[in-house]
């Protein structure tokens, strides 16, 4: 699966899980949310969004439901499963460890 080059491996999964942990959303809304939340710093190509969502679904971390949107259209809403919540916790923890380690490395003075 192709990943956006500017996203660290696995980060997209974490972002999606986090966004969906806040509330169930459909694909379009997720893409809008991604754009606004990360203030355009994180560029997620819309193309890779759907394969990523489907992958999470097949892993059993999120589940999909067809529901009506506010303007009465049918859309596929994703929400977190019990497994997904657990996965989010591990991935978030991993991320914090990793980013802490990297920022420590970056801040080492080159003396």
């Amino acid at each position: 699966m192709s990943k956006p080059a500017d996203l660290v491996q696995g980060t997209l999964d974490l972002l999606l899980l986090k966004i969906l942990a806040l509330e169930p959303l459909h694909g379009w809304a997720i893409s809008l949310r991604l754009r606004s939340l990360s203030s355009d710093v994180l560029q997620v190509s819309e193309g890779s969004l759907y394969p990523a969502l489907h992958k999470l679904e097949q892993e059993g971390w999120i589940k999909a439901e067809w529901k009506q949107t506010e303007n009465n259209r049918r859309a596929k809403f994703y929400s977190l499963t019990r497994l997904g919540r657990r996965q989010l916790e591990t991935e978030a923890a991993n991320w914090q460890r990793l980013s802490a380690a990297i920022s420590y490395l970056v801040q080492l003075s080159e003396a």
């Binding site: 699966m1 192709s2 459909h26 694909g27 379009w28 893409s31 190509s45 819309e46 193309g47 890779s48 759907y50 394969p51 489907h54 992958k55 679904e57 097949q58 892993e59 059993g60 589940k63 067809w66 259209r73 049918r74 859309a75 596929k76 499963t81 019990r82 497994l83």
Partner: protein, 901 residues
């Protein structure tokens, strides 16, 4: 993975598989939803609808690719791809129906040839005991220098049972014994098979009776007290119509009343694959079954007739069980030196029990299976060759697929799927062929007294194995063509349909396949000839008597115990029987014996020490097969006495004991002296002396693969037995004497059952004609099929070559080549392959001949005649197979050939 994970994902997989269209629609709708919003967004930013649409699609980065990515996340694409491949394969195979049919048939023959021997091998070696947890059932055997699989006597069994700790239970049972059965006292008994078993038999083997109950331990304590019987399921159905009220009823066995206490479960026959006991009786009732009134089953420590089985405790190790039993055997040898000196004991697994070195059946099955696998290999080689040429004919198609981006692995998978489809079709047809082979085996009717079960059948185990070998052959014959076919120079591949130059590396593969086929089929032919010659050899000697007797001798078996005769009454009955039958018109002579030659019930053994003979240092006694005979035995059977005299009426109970031995026996023990007048002592150095009064000609005693053996005849008067076979020699057709013989029996005692009456021809046919005939037929079929496949392979190769070189041949002929030159050109290659194959085949033939001789026929050396027949036949046939397509090449009109392509 955690089960919880499956809880969420399994429904998704199922949905992706079986609601594929729905899932696709939903994906489209979801993406469409996104696109529409994106377009709206664009329009609201001032783009025209068309521009907005293009931008939206661009942002997606290729809609179709994304869809593919999404499909890949479903984790079932391997399966859906497979289904697609199968569909595609079926379509593409339908386009070449002839080739497809040929490959399917080839594989069908290969797989079909293995099904029959696999069913034999399974029955004889691998099929587990029909009890729960069969793996923990082991056999305890007594061992002596002569027999590593000996049985135990009743006192030995009792001691072992009480002293071992490695087992949850130790049971004992007899071999299958004939028993006279009548449902009511007034009916004349019929012969059925009985198994004597210890009281714990059913319980320790975890066999739960179908109705009623099994034996209790206390029903096996007091000799003769508890006359209870458990019926076999088949017997219960055939004899009592499956009536459950049979429990509690009384039936008669050997003239005694027995109470039915239960019915064994369906499918539980016994631990012997050939036996199907009709009734089970406690060991303590063995008094009603003994054949030798002199033996005492319950106290004789050397009356070894019991097979002892143990169910190993879960925590017990086989090694510990072995050393435990060995130490018990040592105690036996110390305490009972007269019966147990030099005797050991050990524990054998099921596999060890079934592959005893002395048993020819499993060896035949092993050889037969090995040969069948060679046929399968030939078939696969053939199919591989055909698939190779098919792959080459499809070069362009494959090149196009590679050019438009198909992965090589994906293409290999597609091609393998094709061969899998072919192989499974072939396997299905093969199973049908296997059915025919097994049906041939099941048709064997063995004229034994108790019906012998033919255990070979097409069951789920054989089916599974056939399926497995079909898949294996698909990989075997599909892999090479798939690998080669997908490795190509695309430019050339796209340009021409067939780009290979003859002599290139690829081509060598197919040549090797054909040479291997020739070699393997030569080996198989040699093997079937060796088999044929082995039988022929073992049947060529010592059967003169039988060829004459089969047209003149009538057999009828009697067991006066069935009519409650004691020893005196039995003797009187037999004497009167023979006397009265002799007086009947058309009777030339009459005799009695325990077992007719070529009979199927196994010979009794006699143990002895010859006087004035240097015993081998490690032997206490020797043994030999024996028969107890009475009346005009040798004249009736047509066996000449070559030296000394026949038995006389005066050789009776009170007279000194006498015996007649066969020539082999005489030569064996007194190679340089006259055997007549010598004495042997029965049972041991201090046993009864028996004088040898005559020497009879060696005959074939009945084992198919056996060579010559020792044999001793003793008069019934001095060696009393109850069950005897009456043999009557007629002037003409023996079956015409049936009525007169029955009349005599009725006049002596209307209640005396005649157990099995048949003409000697029936035994002869089974032992000499049908049994070996089936073996030869089975192995011969293998050879013939292999030869056929090799011919087809060779023909195919040469024909294919010709068609590829049509143009070249045309040019050659146009510039003046004569048909002879073309013939040489085309046939040369084929014949070189045949020559190479023949050389390898000869080497393999020698090896397999040696293997078969050592396993089945006790013969040594190489028989050149086998190869004098097989090799020229092979050469002739293969020559023809290359000649036909080659000749066609010479008939090609040059103009046509040049225009080709």
């Amino acid at each position: 993975m955690r089960p919880e994970h499956w809880w969420f994902t399994a429904p998704l997989r199922v949905r992706s598989l079986f609601r594929r269209a729905r899932v696709e629609d939903e994906m489209d709708e979801e993406l469409q939803f996104h696109l529409e919003h994106k377009i709206e967004e664009g329009v609201s930013r001032g783009l025209s609808p068309e521009e907005a649409r293009a931008a939206a699609l661009r942002a997606m980065g290729g809609l179709e690719q994304r869809k593919e990515e999404i499909r890949d996340t479903r984790r079932v694409h391997w399966l859906t791809d497979f289904v697609d491949d199968v569909r595609y394969a079926a379509r593409s195979l339908r386009r070449t129906p002839g080739l497809t049919a040929f490959i399917v048939l080839t594989i069908a023959l290969g797989v079909g040839m293995t099904a029959t021997p696999l069913s034999m091998l399974d029955a004889l070696i691998f099929r587990p005991y029909p009890v729960p947890h069969p793996g923990s059932v082991v056999t305890l055997v007594s061992t002596s220098r002569d027999n590593a699989f000996d049985s135990f006597s009743y006192p030995e069994y009792r001691d072992i049972r009480d002293h071992v700790r490695s087992y949850d239970g130790v049971v004992a049972h007899s071999g299958l014994m004939p028993v006279g059965f009548s449902p009511r006292a007034v009916e004349i008994p019929r012969i059925r098979g009985a198994l004597l078993v210890s009281g714990n038999f059913f319980r320790s083997l975890d066999v739960e009776p179908r109705i009623g109950r099994g034996f209790r331990d206390d029903e096996d304590r007091v000799p003769g007290r508890d006359a209870v019987v458990v019926l076999g399921a088949d017997f219960w159905k055939s004899e009592f119509g499956g009536d459950s009220s049979v429990v509690g009823r009384t039936i008669r066995l050997n003239g005694r009343d027995f109470t039915v206490i239960g019915v064994a479960p369906e499918g539980f026959t016994s631990l012997y694959i050939f036996d199907r006991p009709d009734v089970f009786v406690p060991l303590a009732m063995s008094g009603a079954f003994t054949t030798n009134p002199k033996k005492s089953f319950f106290s004789d420590r050397d009356d070894r007739e019991l097979v002892v089985r143990g169910r190993l405790r879960r925590d017990a190790r086989l090694g510990d069980a072995r050393s435990e039993l060995e130490s018990i055997a040592k105690d036996f040898a110390r305490e009972y030196p007269s019966t147990n000196r030099g005797r050991g004991a050990t524990v054998r697994t099921m596999l060890e029990m079934r592959t005893q070195p002395g048993d020819a059946n499993w060896k035949f099955a092993v050889i037969f299976t090995t040969l069948a696998f060679v046929v399968l290999l030939v078939a696969c080689t053939n199919a591989a060759g055909l698939l190779l040429s098919r792959a080459r004919a499809r070069t362009r198609e494959i090149a196009v697929r590679l050019a438009i981006g198909a992965g090589r692995f994906r293409l290999i998978r597609l091609l393998l799927t094709e061969s899998l489809v072919l192989a499974l079709l072939g396997g299905a047809c093969g199973v049908a062929i296997g059915y025919a082979g097994i049906a041939l085996l099941q048709r064997l009717s063995i004229p034994a007294e108790i019906p012998i079960r033919i255990p070979f059948r097409m069951d789920e185990r054989v089916l599974l194995a056939s399926f497995f070998f079909s898949v294996l052959s698909a990989v075997f014959c599909g892999l090479a063509p798939a690998l080669q076919g997908t490795r190509m120079d695309l430019v050339n591949g796209l340009k021409a349909a067939d780009v290979e130059e003859p002599g290139s590396r690829r081509f060598r593969g197919r040549n090797a396949l054909v040479a291997a086929q020739v070699a393997m089929s030569l080996m198989l032919l040699a093997a079937s000839f060796v088999m044929y010659r082995g039988f022929h050899h073992s049947l060529s000697e010592g059967l003169d008597f039988a060829r004459d007797a089969k047209d003149h001798v009538l057999l009828a078996r009697f067991d006066p115990r069935l009519a409650q005769y004691d020893a005196d009454k039995t003797r009187r009955f037999y004497r009167q029987l023979v006397e009265r039958i002799r007086e009947k018109p058309g009777v030339r002579s009459a005799a009695l014996c325990l077992n007719p030659p070529l009979g199927l019930d196994g010979w009794d053994l006699v143990t002895f020490v010859p006087e004035n003979f240097d015993m081998p240092r490690d032997r206490e006694v020797l043994d030999s097969r024996m028969d107890a005979i009475d009346g005009d035995y040798f004249r009736t059977m047509g066996i000449p006495i070559v030296r000394g005299r026949d038995f006389r009426g005066s050789d009776d109970e009170g007279a000194p004991r006498v015996a007649i031995v066969n020539e082999h026996f005489a030569r064996h023990y007194w190679p340089n002296a006259e055997a007549v007048g010598r004495r042997i002592r029965l049972g041991g150095r201090a046993g009864d002396p028996v004088e040898i009064v005559g020497v009879a000609q060696d005959i074939h005693y009945g084992d198919t693969f056996g060579g010559r053996t020792d044999f001793v005849y003793m008069p019934v008067a001095q060696h009393p037995v109850s069950r005897l076979v009456l043999m009557v020699r007629a002037d003409g057709d023996p079956l015409q004497l049936l009525e007169p013989v029955q009349e005599v029996v009725r006049s002596l005692d209307p209640n005396m059952p005649m157990l099995r009456t048949m003409s000697y021809a029936e035994l002869y046919r089974y032992s000499v004609v049908v049994g070996p005939g089936i073996a030869i037929k089975l192995v011969g079929t293998l050879g013939a099929v292999a030869l056929l496949l090799a011919i087809a392979g060779l023909y195919g190769l040469v024909a294919y070559n010709v068609s590829r070189r049509t143009r070249e041949i045309g040019i050659r002929m146009a510039i003046g080549a004569r048909p002879r030159d073309v013939l040489r050109l085309v046939m040369g290659k084929g014949l070189t392959l045949v020559a190479i194959g023949t050389l390898f085949g000869l080497a393999m033939g020698f090896a397999v001949e040696r293997f078969m001789n050592s396993m089945l026929f006790s013969m040594a050396g190489t028989d050149v005649t086998v190869y004098l027949v097989v090799v020229p036949a092979m050469l002739l046939v293969t020559m023809l197979a290359t000649w036909i397509p080659a000749r066609r090449a010479t008939r090609i009109p040059p103009t046509l050939a040049l225009r080709c392509e």
